[in-house]
Point group: C3
Chain length 159, copies 3
């Protein structure tokens, strides 16, 4: 009987490059038969947003946050050399040239590989994000669910 290996990632960052790193590690670990969890909290929730705007009832600040934060993985900026949005275009150009998967494709692949994608309900409340705005087939939970997976984890990262 072989022991199940487990990888957990807290994706806190809303940067394209950091989210790419998270999803590349997650997909790699899944390919090596790890059970993988990505717990999206704070700005990392933006990676799970659908790209179309929805008409939802929200308070003023929640509406503001919703407008100011990137709507989905493809709209996220870089942690470094962002240059008002030129950096992401440059990176995506070289990614295409080198056949590197885009972040939306990496997320799709993770879902196909049964990586467990969790949205942190506490920070959804804070940022005013509602379930309809996020990708389908994800889970909703809090820090206790993360800890339950992480305490059996071989690789636990905060990104």
């Amino acid at each position: 009987m072989t022991e199940v290996k487990r990888t957990t990632i807290i994706l806190f960052s809303g940067d394209y490059d950091k989210a790419m790193a998270a999803y590349i590690i997650a997909n790699g670990a899944a390919a090596y038969d790890h059970e993988v969890t990505i717990f999206h909290t704070f700005w990392g929730l933006n990676a799970l947003r659908k790209d179309e705007p929805l008409a939802l009832k929200k308070g003023f600040l929640e509406k503001m946050f919703g407008k100011m934060m990137p709507r989905g993985a493809d709209k996220m900026g870089l942690s470094n050399m962002n240059f008002a949005g030129i950096g992401p275009k440059m990176i995506k150009h070289v990614m295409k040239k080198h056949n590197v998967m885009t972040l939306p494709s990496l997320i799709e692949m993770a879902q196909e590989q049964d990586v467990k994608l969790i949205a942190c309900t506490m920070t959804m409340d804070l940022l005013g994000l509602q379930e309809q705005e996020l990708l389908d087939d994800i889970e909703y939970a809090g820090v206790a669910a993360y800890l339950a997976d992480a305490e059996d984890g071989n690789v636990n990262l905060f990104i």
Copy 2:
């Protein structure tokens, strides 16, 4: 005999939101009977500063660092959408609305739950921070103390 679970967090960041994430995880883990260590280094030391200024003997650069860095958890900025201090006000407003604990309360709770709070002595020297400026009842140590806790850790994070 059940094995003790252990969580360690290196808090390197001086951002309010990242420190919140660190302390939420720490308090969660402590509630699940983990032994928890938060090792504060570099800008993460600011979370441990008392908010009143003290008249201390310091070199010029150390005085400068002391003035420029946030004096305590409540003064820290956001890693994202800080907007010259408006972001933290917005976040604190929605936190209050959703009954989410503030960072100073989370730190207090961690101390009540016996989370071990360590200040990294090497970076205290670099940034010119002295023991009198930091919260009471914390420990002072270096990277060796961190490693001793982390190598038995189930969940080890760098934030």
Copy 3:
């Protein structure tokens, strides 16, 4: 027979202070007989760049990235209070005063202690970095090599 302890660090950040933290932990762990791996990806690759410019054949964007990114550990900025390059000078000044090792010395020490330094080949491609531009005696590999080390790791960090 004692079990080998293992520490792995993904160095994603291109900031001087974060790279310092990574290398201080790595050197500490190596001193305590851990097998240590630092996997340099994205901006973390800059810590491995040689400081002299080389005349290499590159595409336009790759040339741009090469020019805009810091050429080696000594040229990297701070994650916080960088102030257009004044921050790193201040920090290096207090480091000297307190006999704290510089980042280039920490990297040298890591190599002497047989810390395994890996450059991520996928992100080298993206950023147009070639082997001749990076330090000697490092390894070149992808995420699979990282995971193989990390899944046996006691301490696995993402910095």
